[in-house]
């Protein structure tokens, strides 16, 4: 029973952490068909911004808000640096945008290293208690307020993003830009602006993720790489572009890891291997991920 609760709690929280990062990949992919490899780095940058503001004495909610706002700008910056120059690169392979977004990620990591340093920083949780409730023990497993906040926020973001994407003019415009940029322009949609807005939103998502994750994992440099890769796999697993796919992918990874580390003696080290095997198997059955729609081949 303890094992079961442990798996449930750990799977949900880890899955939500991963999903929070994966949303960023998805949002960008849904309107540009590009995967922004710099998403993980954007998360780290946002985390350090929040940390810096909080250290200056601003309450955590203020730091959170400032980090979100600043990250909008970071997103725009990434777009200007990594996406704008792509005009002329050979379109037959995806090399161009992979190079630029990955390059930006590397640059960001080094800049952080140079300026802030690589040590892990602590951020206070957004809330210590919910209506006086602080922590619960279920079969000996502690469930804390930040954990609950994490899981619930991830679900709320799913709902919010799905509504944005399916119910609003902006969401329709995003999809139109992704499908056929030229024709989207004919509808009066400023396609370049849309791409920029997407990256800005992805930045904001990164900031939300960073602040929610920090109580569990701190703010640290290798968060970008490690979490970035897991989130990336979650996004592809669930189907790139699908928000619910991201959270399902996150849960799959979270639960797989939790189960594996509970039943194997060596703890976590088998986790990534099993996750990768699951990932491959899913792609064999569904090459575009669980909720992804395979592109129709045009001849």
């Amino acid at each position: 029973m303890t094992d079961f609760v442990q798996i449930l709690v750990s799977g949900l929280t880890v899955g939500s952490v991963i999903a929070l990062v994966a949303f960023g990949y998805n949002l960008v992919f849904a309107s540009t068909r590009i995967v922004n490899f710099a998403q993980g780095s954007m998360l780290v940058v946002a985390g350090y911004i929040a940390f810096a503001v909080a250290r200056a004495g601003v309450p955590i909610w203020g730091a959170f808000a400032i980090s979100v706002l600043a990250s909008l700008g970071v997103g725009v910056l990434v777009e200007v640096v990594a996406i704008k120059p792509l005009g002329r690169f050979d379109p037959s392979t995806n090399v161009g945008w992979i190079l630029t977004t990955f390059g930006v990620a590397l640059i960001a990591v080094d800049i952080i290293k140079k300026t802030v340093g690589a040590e892990a920083r602590r951020l206070p949780p957004l809330a210590d208690s919910i209506f006086g409730w602080k922590v619960a023990k279920i079969s000996g497993v502690a469930v804390t307020v930040p954990d609950v906040l994490l899981v619930v926020s991830a679900l709320l973001i799913v709902v919010g993003l799905e509504l944005l994407q399916t119910r609003t003019a902006l969401g329709r415009a995003f999809r139109a830009v992704a499908e056929d940029r030229q024709t989207a322009g004919l509808m009066g949609i400023n396609t370049e602006l849309m791409v920029m807005i997407t990256f800005a939103l992805a930045g904001a998502l990164a900031a939300i993720g960073a602040v929610l994750i920090a109580p569990r994992l701190f703010v640290k440099l290798d968060l970008g790489v490690n979490l970035g890769i897991q989130a990336f796999i979650a996004a592809v697993l669930g189907g790139l572009g699908s928000t619910r796919g991201a959270i399902v992918g996150g849960y799959i990874i979270g639960f797989t890891t939790a189960i594996v580390s509970t039943i194997t003696s060596e703890g976590g080290s088998w986790g990534p291997v099993i996750v990768f095997v699951v990932f491959l198997l899913v792609l064999v059955v569904r090459p575009a991920g669980i909720f992804g729609s395979p592109a129709v081949e045009k001849v």
Binding site: R172, R175, A176, E179, D180, Q182, G185, L186, G188
Partner: protein
């Protein structure tokens, strides 16, 4: 910003209905105003010259057609006018739309000025639903909810099949239905100027005449239309005037009825 500049052209204060805007009768003051004026337009794709100095105009309320053989540059003309040609290597000459020079403007700017381009090959957003496609057509008026809903109703009335399939992805529609959707999407912009590129392409003959009846209806309502069409006889039937575009050069033009009687046109494009 661009919308604000475009505003004087719309029936902004005329109750609800930029849709009624489409029914602007052109001849109110007796003199036809030139809505679109193209002068000495040259377009290159790489080194290949697609358009070699063409000039033409479309007056308010007119239906003008451009006919000509495959590859003469008809689609290029439309694309250049509406600003889609992101891949155009170089454009020279001038395009004036509603009094503004637009040859250097991007397509979304021009679209917001009230020009709707129904592209060749339909280009519906296959993954979006039919209704979303239509709403995207009204993107420039997205804040005028009531007017948009009214127009949506009107398009559904004109094309009942679209109402039936409103919540299906547009990719599942047949070719003819997609063409109706593309035209409907264009109308949703409540355009003061409609560009139609090969609206008959891929349609069964029955549908072709249906589409041209719709065009004739729009023309009767006073919509200004620039039409590019393979089926010259159909195009000349609905048009007021016609230009003949051959190898990137305008080689003839005039009153549609006269063109239909012109021996060269008859031989080359009407198969007589």
């Amino acid at each position: 910003m661009s919308e604000r500049r475009a505003r004087p052209l719309h029936a902004d204060g005329h109750g609800h209905g930029a849709a009624t805007q489409a029914i602007l009768k052109p001849t109110t003051n007796g003199k036809k105003e030139k809505l679109l004026k193209v002068e000495d337009l040259r377009v290159f794709y790489g080194a290949a010259r697609a358009l070699d100095g063409i000039s033409f105009h479309v007056a308010q309320g007119e239906v003008v057609t451009i006919i000509g053989p495959n590859g003469a540059g008809k689609s290029t003309t439309l694309k250049t006018v509406s600003g889609v040609g992101e891949l155009l290597k170089s454009v020279s000459g001038s395009i004036t739309f509603a009094g503004e020079r637009v040859e250097k403007k991007s397509s979304h700017h021009i679209a917001r000025m009230g020009m709707a381009h129904v592209p060749e090959g339909r280009r519906v957003f296959a993954g979006s639903t039919v209704e979303d496609n239509l709403l995207l057509g009204a993107y420039r008026r997205r804040r005028m909810r009531a007017a948009v809903n009214e127009d949506l109703e009107r398009v559904y009335e004109r094309f009942p099949v679209l109402r039936e399939r409103r919540s299906q992805p547009a990719g599942y529609l047949s070719g003819g239905e997609q063409q109706m959707l593309a035209i409907g999407r264009g109308l949703m912009a409540s355009p003061q100027f409609l560009l139609l590129d090969e609206p008959s392409l891929g349609l069964a003959p029955l549908l072709v005449s249906q589409v041209f009846d719709i065009i004739a209806g729009l023309a009767a309502d006073g919509t200004t239309i620039l039409l590019v069409e393979q089926l010259a006889h159909q195009a000349l039937r609905v048009a007021d005037r016609a230009y003949v575009l051959e190898a990137g050069v305008i080689s003839g033009g005039g009153d549609a009825a006269a063109m239909a009687a012109d021996p060269h046109v008859r031989e080359a494009y009407l198969g007589a």
